[in-house]
């Protein structure tokens, strides 16, 4: 009865897309206008925190191996930490800008987890390719939230952050259970589905 792994990826992709759209909007209108309504200020940090919480059932019910469990568990932790820190900053309970270092930390942990828990090579199947691509994207893009700690008002950095999040959602939407990538599909991957 549990959904397939690719469906879980799509559901998360939709949530991540919403976070990305909110971030992009915030970059366009500026933080002052974005935070004019209290609920809106909490929206994307709350969504990020919620996605972190939702990763726990994924860790529980999609444990193909120990490495999957560690990967999903570590994502849940770092996403909750980053989302929670952002909520604290918006609320005013947290004041130090260095709490925003939780975002580059989340990116680096996520990137490493993606790369380490995918044990097949890039062109094994689409899922393997996307895991490698997502992992390296997170690792390289960690520089953006890192720079945002020191330049929080930079429109370019804020837009880049949103673009990275939206790109991650697009990659997750591209996932399919067993499907070729650029015409490559290892016979070991199994029969191609729809």
């Amino acid at each position: 009865m549990a959904p397939q792994a690719d469906m879980v990826h799509w559901a998360f992709a939709a949530g991540i897309l919403l976070v990305g759209l909110c971030l992009l909007c915030e970059a366009i209108v500026g933080q002052e206008v974005w935070r004019m309504r209290k609920w809106r200020a909490y929206l994307w940090p709350g969504l990020a925190f919620g996605l972190g919480v939702a990763l726990w059932p994924v860790m529980t019910f999609f444990t193909n191996s120990a490495i999957h469990m560690y990967a999903h568990g570590s994502w849940a932790e770092v996403l909750m930490l980053a989302g929670g820190a952002e909520l604290g900053l918006v609320h005013g309970r947290l004041r130090s800008r260095f709490w925003r270092l939780t975002w580059p930390l989340a990116f680096v942990v996520t990137g490493i987890a993606f790369i380490v828990h995918e044990q097949n090579p890039w062109f094994f199947a689409r899922a393997a390719f996307l895991h490698h691509l997502l992992g390296w994207t997170f690792l390289v893009a960690a520089l953006v939230p890192l720079a945002l700690v020191w330049r929080p008002q930079s429109v370019v950095l804020r837009s880049s952050f949103a673009a990275v999040i939206i790109a991650v959602s697009v990659m997750l939407f591209c996932d399919r259970d067993v499907a070729p990538v650029f015409g490559h599909l290892s016979p070991l991957a199994g029969a191609q589905h729809r």
Binding site: M1, M7, W10, L17, L21, I28, R40
Partner: protein, 94 residues
């Protein structure tokens, strides 16, 4: 022009600022992306051939999720944000 029905409208007020246009476009553009994707890959949209499909295949369909995200964003976030943006614009001289 200045009749009893039509008055001069300052050019500044008639132009929609780029920021408002960008916010207005984000949601519909996202929904349109889902629609185009559904058109290009109808085989992935289970709603078009629902017979014999399981529960999850019918509930979680990627193109529909993209459309729903775009529509939800446009209705819940963008609409109010634009009014706030215009309010700020009206309150700010120049």
């Amino acid at each position: 022009m200045d009749t009893s029905y039509v008055h001069d409208v300052p050019a500044e007020r008639t132009r929609t600022p780029a920021r408002v246009q960008a916010v207005l476009l984000l949601g519909p553009a996202t929904a349109a992306a889902g629609l185009i994707w559904a058109y290009l890959q109808p085989v992935r949209l289970t709603l078009l051939h629902p017979h014999g499909q399981g529960f999850w295949w019918l509930v979680i369909e990627p193109q529909l999720l993209v459309m729903v995200a775009g529509i939800a964003f446009a209705l819940v976030v963008a609409r109010q944000l634009i009014s706030d943006l215009e309010e700020t614009r009206d309150g700010t001289p120049g």
